[in-house]
Amino acid sequence: MKTIPFISVVNAVSELCLQAAFYLPADVVQGLKRALETESSARARGILEKLLANAAVAREQKLALCQDCGTAIFFVELGAQVRVADGLLAEAINAGVRQGYEKGYLRKSIVADPLYNRCNTGDNTPAVIHFLPVAGEALTITLVPKGGGSENMSGLRMLTPSQGEQGVIDFVVGAVERAGGKPCPPLIVGVGLGGTAEQAMLLAKKALLRPLAQPHPQKEYAALENALFARVNATGIGPQGLGGDTTALAVKIERAPCHIASLPVAVNLSCHATRHATVVL
């Protein structure tokens, strides 16, 4: 059994908050550069150039890429042979968020209650934490800070099996069209297929974590990702919704087995600032 001190988790999570907020992942930078080469609208190219300039300023000045430093969402893989000493893992993660958001001058965007007490908690906690038990001696923590503007454009539809691939395409493209310029395109479109209602949504979020240039390992789904990517970019919504060929930098699908009666499809849109960072303890 391996023991990790509480404070090690706190410090590691705090560092993740800073990493994710200041440094645009290299695959997204590459995606923006690639889009700049293919984009036909001058206005859209101007916007893409400014997004790249923004990433450079954020990196150099250790300034948040976006003022919306997001809900702190964690995917935690907890090895069966690991335990955290001196406290609960969830508490250590929240303490790390508290420390990181303060230290990094990151915006605190969480209110205590959705309806009756929309009072800012002041430290960006509580985090949203998804635990997955795994084999081994490692504790792997991935942070995905997610902005409110793009998260608001999420969608779920419980399709029937007969609606099939066309039903999925119509729903995903429709979700992007309804969102228009609101979620800060160019987007990364996360699609969750199968499972149950809540699992589909989680798959859509996880899909955002796959590197941009990496297609789905299964041939049919890789082809569906390509088809959706072409359809989404044919909408002409473009960067910031002001027109252009670059509505999305990528479409990523995650799938799971599902009930004989169901075909759940979930869409989770992320702005170009698809921030994430991972640490293995």
Partner: protein, 175 residues
């Protein structure tokens, strides 16, 4: 060609702007987002005076990140404007507000009000908060400081890069 404009915005400046124009804005602007809009709107409904005079002024939909020591402000890009749509027509009608800065589409009702009251809607680049912060030279809290990042701040900006997304004739760049 980039058009240079300064606040406060006169009716003449507004009519000279067309959807699609690239603009660099300098001068004083005010921030307000969801919670501040709700408060301003409630005051207007009651017929009470507002804590800030918006005549010929510009509202920027932003909740900035905290400033590092020695800096006026942290990252400060636009938030989604559509959430302010229920409040905007009343602000345009009753305060003489001239312009809004945000990101994304506005409702048909807001577009009609923009046309009726001779205002303009600028798109700033969402997700470029670090870059936009470089244009902000000064940031002072005006009111509603209990709202944290949602308080109303007065910003002094220099060459804030914007795109005219909906002009005073109601022409929109969004489809």
């Amino acid at each position: 060609m980039v058009i240079t404009i300064k606040t406060p915005l006169s009716a003449t400046i507004i009519t000279s702007l067309h959807a699609g124009d690239e603009v660099e804005l300098s001068g004083t602007i005010y921030t307000a987002r969801d919670a501040a809009h709700r408060r301003l709107y409630d005051l207007l409904q009651q017929g009470s005076p507002l804590p800030v005079d918006l005549k010929n002024q510009v509202l920027y939909y932003v909740g900035p990140a905290p400033a590092r020591p020695g800096k006026p402000i942290g990252s400060a890009g636009p938030t989604t404007s559509a959430r302010m749509d229920p409040f905007t027509p009343a602000l345009l009608e009753k305060t003489g507000l001239r312009a809004m800065i945000g990101k994304g589409e506005r409702s048909p009702t807001v577009i009609a009000a923009i046309k009726q009251y001779g205002a303009v809607y600028f798109a700033a680049i969402g997700g470029a908060g670090a870059l936009i912060a470089q244009c902000i030279k000064k940031c002072d809290a005006v009111c509603y400081e209990d709202l944290g990042p949602e308080a109303i701040f007065r910003l002094t900006v220099e060459k804030f890069p914007l795109i005219v997304a909906i002009d005073g004739m109601g022409r929109s760049l969004y489809r």
